[in-house]
Amino acid sequence: MRSILLVAFNTFREAVRDRVLYNLIVFALLLIGASFLVGQISIGIERQVLISLGLTAISLFGVVIAVFIGVGLVSKEIEKRTIYTVLTRPVRRWQFIVGKFFGLFGTLVVNTFFMAIGFFAALALQAHRLQWADGWLVVALWFIVLEFVIITALALLFSSFSTPLESAVFAFVLFIIGTFSEDLREFAQAAHGLTRIVASGAAYLVPNLAALNVVGRVAHDQALPPSLIFYNTIYAALYATAAVAAAVLIFERRDMK
């Protein structure tokens, strides 16, 4: 456990020192700009637009960070040979992988936390108050964090056996397919024969990110069923565990050439 925490903290420290959190400044500028613009171009629906824009930005910023850091988590360590002086200490390979995962995930949580503060501040400024319905925004943010869990695990998985470029392509493709996974499921149900089998398999294999996207619903103050929160949380935890376990299995057998 100690080794996992140490590797995780070092991964977090690397992200901070590499100025990853500078994206917060861009996010803040985006929100400030949007707050001014929204008032002028969307009379009556300022709140919906601001929520949609804010949550989508938080999600996209996080996914970009998860992919771009995640794909180099392992391969960069091997390429730069920094891993040699870590794995030759009493650190198991699985501890290194799990530590890397939690390090990046921790970075994203901290990043999301600060973005969320900015987001709620922008909302409060726009409406001059916060309301009970804003509680659903916290749920939407939770789902975004769950999305990061999955994307981070997938980026780490790809990073454990391929180059950063290939990993980035795989991760983004899966993110896009995952975003439209419900369409894929509908297609699978409508298909027949082999196509149905293949499409169904693919639909269950790709992450169901569509279920985690509730931006439209919370923007219109729609309530979210507690079962959705429960199932989404379980789903993300299981999916990420499976992806990290696969990364561990690959990494345990990999030669550090």
């Binding site: 140490l6 070092n10 690397e14 040979r81 920094t82 794995l87 030759t88 200490r89 650190v91 550090m256």
Partner: protein
């Protein structure tokens, strides 16, 4: 119990998209390094030195054979606490400072609290990096990184230290410092296994050496016995060049210098004849010294030897009688 023991340890890489091409980086290696030794692992570039070290460090997996370090399996965390490793041309997390890096490694090695702080400060002072403690590693020179690499390898007071080309990238002064450091590790009773292709370093430091070529162990030798080995040649130095032409006919090689002195290498059988010639020519004989075998002689001889012709015996412990032991694969 040997500090390091390998039995038929080998590594073959599979190359290409379909992994059909095989490249044997290390042929079956049987070797034992005793506790307290400084053991030099010699070979030209691409000989398989780094592959051996990576196998011992558990960074790559063997395709055959086995190895034990300090009597333990290679993946045993208890063993990892007792070894230190300096990779070739080390590269570290360049966003950290030297104390931060050493602190991280000390924590991973299980050092805690005051002991950790003390060891980090000691190591920085020992490798001369105490002044640079606020500098990020991205600003470190190659020599500074090498010294930091040595510091991290011995930070947790390991029993056994593996150094891959420890003098690489260092200036003469830096090399001298690292040599002194390796010697001090031996004085502390530690076992040092280091790879190098710089023979003078191995000659100055090692108790024993192994020569590796194209992934194959060509021999293991005890340095002291190696250097005591007679070559059957004698080097004669004299003043007065009147007999030079006659000596040239008898010598294996002969060189005259501008200050009226000359040097010749002759066989032991021809020594009396050469000395007679010099006395007749009224030359002043300065010295006549037997030529000792050098590590370089041994290294070249081993590299040129055809491994198929070598007799079958296993290399290993330092208590064998033979000064040089060959290893057949």
């Amino acid at each position: 119990m040997p500090a390091i023991e390998t039995i038929g340890l080998e590594k073959t890489y599979r190359l290409g998209f379909w992994r059909k091409t095989a490249r044997q980086a290390l042929r079956p290696l049987t070797l034992a390094v005793e506790e307290g030794e400084i053991f030099g692992y010699l070979g030209p570039n691409g000989a398989g030195k780094t592959t051996t070290l990576k196998l011992l460090m558990g960074l790559v997996f063997p395709t055959g054979g086995s190895a034990r370090i300090l009597g333990m399996e290679l993946d045993d965390p208890r063993m990892r606490r007792q070894i230190g490793f300096l990779p070739e041309q080390p590269y570290f997390y360049d966003y950290l400072t030297a104390p931060e890096l050493l602190n991280y490694y000390a924590q991973l090695s299980g050092l805690t609290g005051r002991d950790r702080k003390r060891r980090v400060e000691e190591m920085l002072a020992r490798v001369g990096l105490a002044e640079a403690e606020r500098m990020q590693l991205r600003k470190f020179s190659k020599g500074m990184l090498q010294r930091l690499g040595i510091a991290q390898a011995i930070l947790h007071d390991p029993k056994l230290v593996f150094l891959d080309e420890p003098m690489s990238g260092l200036d003469p002064l830096g090399r001298r410092e690292v040599r002194d450091l390796i010697q001090s590790l031996k004085d502390e009773g530690k076992t040092v296994f280091f790879s190098t292709h710089i023979l003078s370093d191995a000659e100055a430091l090692c108790d024993r050496v192994a020569v590796l070529c194209r992934g194959e162990l060509r021999g293991v030798g005890v340095i002291a016995e190696l250097e005591a080995k007679r070559t059957g040649r004698v080097e004669v130095v004299w003043r007065g060049l009147s007999a030079l032409a006659e000596v040239r006919n008898l010598a294996l090689e002969c060189h005259a210098s501008k200050n009226d002195t000359a040097r010749a290498t002759v066989t032991e059988g021809n020594l009396d004849a050469v000395l007679d010639v010099l006395r007749r020519g009224s030359a002043q004989i300065i010295s006549a010294m037997p030529v000792r075998s050098t590590l370089e002689d041994y290294f070249i001889e081993r590299l040129q030897a055809d491994p198929q012709d070598e007799p079958g015996s296993t290399a290993a412990s330092p208590d064998s009688d033979a000064p040089v032991r060959e290893v057949a694969q």
